[in-house]
Symmetry: C2
Subunit: 238 residues, 2 copies
């Protein structure tokens, strides 16, 4: 339980709807506090999933209810300078879950699913989408993010809109993302399905301002490409 | 079956012990050829797992035996300019399998396992190690590598040796791997266990020439860090 005694940078993290001077927690979060052996008087971190995080003191704690008092606000040191968005093609089986988890760790603020010409999968059920949202929430907590990424229902690649710059992983490109990415505007990255985007899809995206970038000369699985590309961005230090 | 009619850059890939003018395949590889609907007269690609690859013509093919005739040699365009090595701490469950698979796609030529101070897992059985080798072999084939990475039995981080430059993923570092990596010498990257390397371990590695590098300000799982760091290298275009 080394975390329990950690200083301001450590401490258990509790998701709250809003950061307020006095916050009342219900049975579910209270159970979580008990599992973590939090006791009255302990300091925890509260975050609202929207980029705000602060220390809070556990004023009272019983079986079904806890009262937390807001302490020092904490800067969102774990967030990118501008929002980072991942656009990813629908993938078979449980592959999207792994992508969502890793993308959340790597700083993504928004995840948009797309359907492309070569997609094996063309839709996703409401339950599966909710599961991806829960995974993003868990991963945000574990990696001490102050933002929980939204996971959006899929659109076709033609209907896709994106904030800021769009970088598309594209075999054959020689442009390095590290040479062209600019944190003065939001950053969006896009990776395709198994089998890749079609040339027509890449051309259409490029006509709308997308920049194809390299991930090396090898063939990557559709679930490896987003992690690799987001890793390249994280390795720039943000 | 679009692959079947692919040109010199495509075609089915067959692992052979050595590239020779005439190559005889046994029942196992022949079964593979039948599954792929390869027929006498077809062109396939043969590779030896050691960086050599060439086209070959299927001269004869029956139920248990095939004879292949060597064609044009193919350059190892999918390989990094100098060997890329991944050093990774032992991880729980099936996490190493996923790391080996992604690392192979991302161009690693050698995988060395280490035991560190905070390791949950301190050893790996012979069977599990063999399974990792098989996974590397499959992944190499799928991503059309001409090198199959070796997976080495674990050593302690103190006993570790490495070729060329060693880059260690280290929270708090501000050095970007893209700014310091030099393909004039072999490149080795190292990532720690869940909970990270100890300060003493990082200091000891740095004293031996290792360079700590950033993967951003967030906390990554031990199985995400190697893929992210290798992704950063792939995004440099090699």
């Amino acid at each position: 339980m080394t975390r329990r005694t950690a200083g301001p940078a450590g401490g258990h993290r509790v998701l709250v709807p809003e950061l307020r001077d006095v916050m009342i927690l219900g049975p579910r979060e209270v159970r979580h506090l008990h599992v973590l052996r939090v006791r009255p008087g302990d300091t925890v971190r509260v975050f609202d999933g929207d980029g705000h995080e602060a220390e809070a003191t556990v004023a009272t704690l019983d079986d079904a209810r806890a009262e937390l008092h807001l302490g020092t606000a904490l800067a969102g040191a774990s967030e990118t300078p501008m929002p980072l968005t991942l656009v990813v093609a629908l993938l078979k089986g449980d592959k999207l879950a792994e992508v969502v988890r890793a993308a959340t760790e790597l700083g993504v603020a928004d995840i948009r699913l797309i359907v492309t010409a070569r997609a094996d999968v063309r839709e996703i059920g409401a339950q599966k989408l909710q599961r991806l949202e829960r995974i993003a929430q868990e991963a945000a907590k574990q990696s001490r993010r102050t933002v929980i990424p939204d996971v959006h229902a899929p659109v076709t690649v033609g209907d896709l809109t994106w904030p800021g710059q769009l970088f598309v992983a594209q075999p054959g490109s020689t442009t390095r993302i590290g040479d062209v990415l600019d944190w003065a505007a939001p950053v969006t990255v896009l990776t395709g399905p198994e089998g890749g985007l079609t040339d027509a899809e890449v051309t259409a995206l490029a006509a709308r301002g997308a920049i194809p970038v390299t991930l090396g000369p090898r063939i990557l699985r559709a679930e490896t490409a987003p992690v690799a590309l987001l890793g390249a961005i994280a390795a720039l230090g943000r």
